[in-house]
Symmetry: C2
Subunit: 182 residues, 2 copies
């Protein structure tokens, strides 16, 4: 369905365009004109639907956070169906490590949250969500440690040509999640 004369769809298109552009050019280089061009809407539409550029960016980052929440739900299901929690978590993490756009977006969110406190809660969604899921299988401290480790693995993948391999991930996640047995 076309976006003309369809406010909801139009708004979604604009957010989607910003969402795509963030990993490509970074939050900082995002402009009304760039988003308008990508969304194939006139410049005026981007100011009509969002009261400021910051609002637009926030909407896009919120969309990113929602996408992450959905991914987390999928992780929760996969872990529940698994008999080898650390191994499954390692595989899930490894898959994520190859999605550079996803990780770049997440890092942009962290950087933005560093200067805009209202974004901090968005930045916590992944970390806290994963910790909550893992707490089903071990104690809170171990769950948090494993969650922190996967965050570190994202950062590692972002700065290195080759992300950590599944074996390394599995080994580390196994000892972390089994900390509660000690």
């Amino acid at each position: 369905m076309s976006s003309r004369r369809n406010p909801e769809e139009r708004r979604r298109r604009i957010i989607q365009a910003a969402y795509e552009l963030i990993p490509e050019v970074g939050v900082a280089k995002l402009t009304h004109r760039l988003v308008a061009a990508r969304a194939e809407v006139p410049l005026g539409a981007t100011t009509y639907y969002f009261s400021s550029l910051d609002d637009l960016v926030e909407a896009a980052l919120t969309a990113a956070a929602e996408a992450t929440s959905e991914a987390l739900r999928a992780w929760a299901e996969a872990l529940e169906a698994s008999t080898d929690v650390p191994g499954t978590l390692a595989t899930l993490t490894s898959d994520y490590l190859h999605d550079r756009a996803q990780m770049t977006t997440w890092n942009e969110l962290y950087a933005a949250a560093g200067h805009r406190p209202e974004l901090r809660s968005l930045a916590r969604i992944w970390s806290d969500g994963l910790t909550g899921i893992l707490a089903t299988y071990t104690d809170h401290q171990a769950a948090q440690a494993a969650s922190v480790f996967t965050d570190g693995a994202f950062l590692h993948a972002l700065t290195h040509d080759q992300p950590l391999d599944v074996g390394s991930l599995a080994r580390a996640l196994t000892v972390l999640l089994n900390m509660d047995a000690a």
Copy 2:
């Protein structure tokens, strides 16, 4: 000594100003004029000493990386003098987690490296350096895992009001560094 008619000092002043401003306003909002004002030099000086703003930013981030290298050397010494490597590492990490400016700078570097490949090597200094140091005490995989974990702890501290406590850090770092015994 005044910076007038003292090129080296002047250059250092400008870099220092940019270095200070990065955690405050972010790499993206850094401008010649902002740096000039902080360094108390005229606008022209910032373009005289650096061929472009990107060059200036790169110089500032390089300075940040060098500061990190020095910190790493201190870590190496402290660990060498210690009988409890994981515990000492936890303490060192915990101290770092309270230095928000330092971590913000580091995150800015990560974000910048995401869009400028020539900065990637700078972004690796911390991670690879720490891994190298820890490899003295355990196998490479365990050292890398511990290093990745501390990176994750930085990210955690950046987005949460309260950083991880020393106890949590010590517990996780202990099992990770002892992975080689398994």
